[in-house]
Amino acid sequence: MALMSQETKLALPREAPTTLEAIRLFAERRRSFWVVLSLACLFTAWEIAGRIPISYAFPTFSDTVAAFFEMVGDGTMIRAYFLTLQPLVLGVVISALCGIGIGILMGLSDKAEWLLAPVFIVLQAAPMAALVPLVTFIYGIGLTAKTLAVIMLALPVIVLNSYKAVRHVNPSLVDMCRSFQGSRRQQIFKIIIPDASPVLFAGLRLGVAAGFIGVMLAELLITPTGIGDLITYHRSVANYAHMYAAVASIIAVSTLTLAGLQWFETNILRPEKRRK
């Protein structure tokens, strides 16, 4: 730690130590300062790049914000999210129910592990995006197809994390349960699942992240609906500010969702980890 602060000091010019020092102190105290600062840097750079302009197809930041509020104001944005969230939520819920079940089964049974683990390892590592268009052949273009696309991306992640969670359960807790003659059922429900639950939840969070990717792929590859429709439609009519607003909003929504889940995980689910 000492080495680090020394280097930080060296990086600063020596002429104006007071103001910089003050900023540095402030910055160290408040992490949000950095969030605001780096966001401000990006938005300024974006605004400048848009004003030059580097391309006719590159809107300024202010135009994008205006377009965003316009779309929120006239309700198109809310309608779009209503459409986009349907396959996302449905797909993630189905993946969570099946995925945690399959993952726990694989964690508990060597036979299930042998049979299923390689399949999910392949599916997680493989570029599933290539298979998304195939879904339309069987399930058409509706909600089913998009939900399936979300499941294709989210399920392997959730399964493998649940499986790992169960395999990494503290073995001495399991021994403890056995030494008190706990039945297999008690072992699973009183020890294994509670002990695995933080990792299970982390797997769910990663599943939600994969689900966002899945729903965007579905909306850009199967048929444009929701946010995907906003992106493609506004591009096709050269409303690039609107298109950027849609892209930025989905990234922001997914980031906020994941950050919220992470917060929930560290503050509510694992109080024992918070101190570290």
């Binding site: 058409g140 048929t223 444009p224 439609y233 096709s236 009519v237 050269a238 409303n239």
Partner: protein, 329 residues
């Protein structure tokens, strides 16, 4: 050991650096960059042949195949492609860049079709869901125009890009009313002749695909553009005279080398069906005028069709020069 590691490290650094430099370097050469809104298939063979002929006449052509027409249009707007393919009327009206069409490639040749189990004619579609290509597209325009004519209203319009996707969806039963192209029509007639009914359609003359570019590019590269327009028009005329020529020319220019036999067999019937929809004089002012009527109905264009100016959408200079040279048909 240490020496070897050092050598490997240096080599790695150099190769990474050279790779970084190599990316922009490839973009320095200045060929005519043509952006397709679709992959190369039998349907694009005509244009591919014309591009080969332009190359023979000294125009350096570089093609790039993009996911969709709107991405192709975006590429032209942002200056990453010189010439785009599509019918971007909506975009032309809104975009700040001086993009203009300069050659009509094909006219809309579409066939509204319904699953006869559920619907028999236009009136049955009142309050029903239909599927078209994309928002503001020609297919939507046709369906909306027919709805107006027949005094009906659809409950909703689903956007399903790709005529072959809509054809497949019809066959699978996922879509009950949509609009397909000529090859889709042939597939439906071959696969399940009794299951689908093609709805009657009045006379429609509108641009399906056109070439468009930045006017600056057209001014600076007028010669190349003329050669391109010339070779397209002559190719179109050849195809119109004898659709079988496409198969021959494909062999000659070694296009679509890995096409399956089924695809090759598809070439002649496709172009035979297309024959009448091929604009042999490159569209121009007349095409623009009828497009205005048509696309204002679909909502792609806003305003009164009579007040829209051709010069806001079309750059006729090159087409007129070429047509002046080779004559009209």
């Amino acid at each position: 050991m240490g020496y070897l590691a050092e050598r490997i490290r240096t080599a790695a650094v150099i190769s990474t650096l050279s790779l970084t430099v190599a990316i922009p370097a490839t973009a320095i050469a200045d060929p005519m960059r043509v952006a397709f809104g679709d992959i190369a298939t039998v349907e694009t063979l005509g244009l591919l042949i014309a591009l080969e002929r332009a190359k023979e006449q000294g125009v350096e052509v570089e093609t790039v195949f993009l996911k969709s027409e709107d991405i192709a249009a975006q590429a032209v707007v942002s200056g990453q492609a010189d010439i785009g393919i599509g019918g971007p009327y909506a975009l032309l009206q809104k975009v700040k860049a001086p993009i203009r069409m300069f050659l009509q490639l094909s006219e809309l040749q579409m066939y509204p079709v319904v699953n006869s189990e559920f619907y028999k004619d236009w009136a049955d579609l009142d309050g029903q869901e239909i599927a078209v290509h994309s928002r503001g597209s020609g297919t939507e325009a046709i369906m909306q125009m027919m709805a107006q004519k027949n005094g009906i209203k659809y409950s909703s319009v689903a956007y399903v890009p790709g005529a072959e996707v809509r054809t497949g969806a019809l066959l699978q039963g996922n879509v009950k009313a949509t609009i397909v192209d000529s090859s889709g029509k042939r597939v439906l007639e071959a696969e399940a002749p009794d299951k689908f009914t093609f709805l009657p359609l009045g006379d429609i003359a509108a641009t399906d695909e056109a070439l468009f570019a930045n006017t600056e590019y057209l001014e600076k590269n007028a010669k190349d553009a003329e050669i391109l327009v010339d070779s397209i028009l002559t190719t179109w005329r050849e195809i119109a005279a004898d659709p079988a020529v496409v198969t021959k020319l494909r062999d000659q220019y070694k296009l679509l080398p890995d096409a399956t036999p089924e695809m090759v067999a598809e070439i002649e019937p496709y172009f035979a069906g297309l024959k009448d929809a091929l604009p042999l004089n490159g569209g121009g002012e007349a095409a623009a005028k009828s497009d205005f009527d048509f696309y204002t109905v679909s909502g792609a264009l806003t305003g009164d069709p009579k007040e829209l100016k051709v010069e806001d959408f079309w750059d006729l200079g090159i087409l007129n020069t070429v047509v002046g040279r080779i004559g009209t048909m």
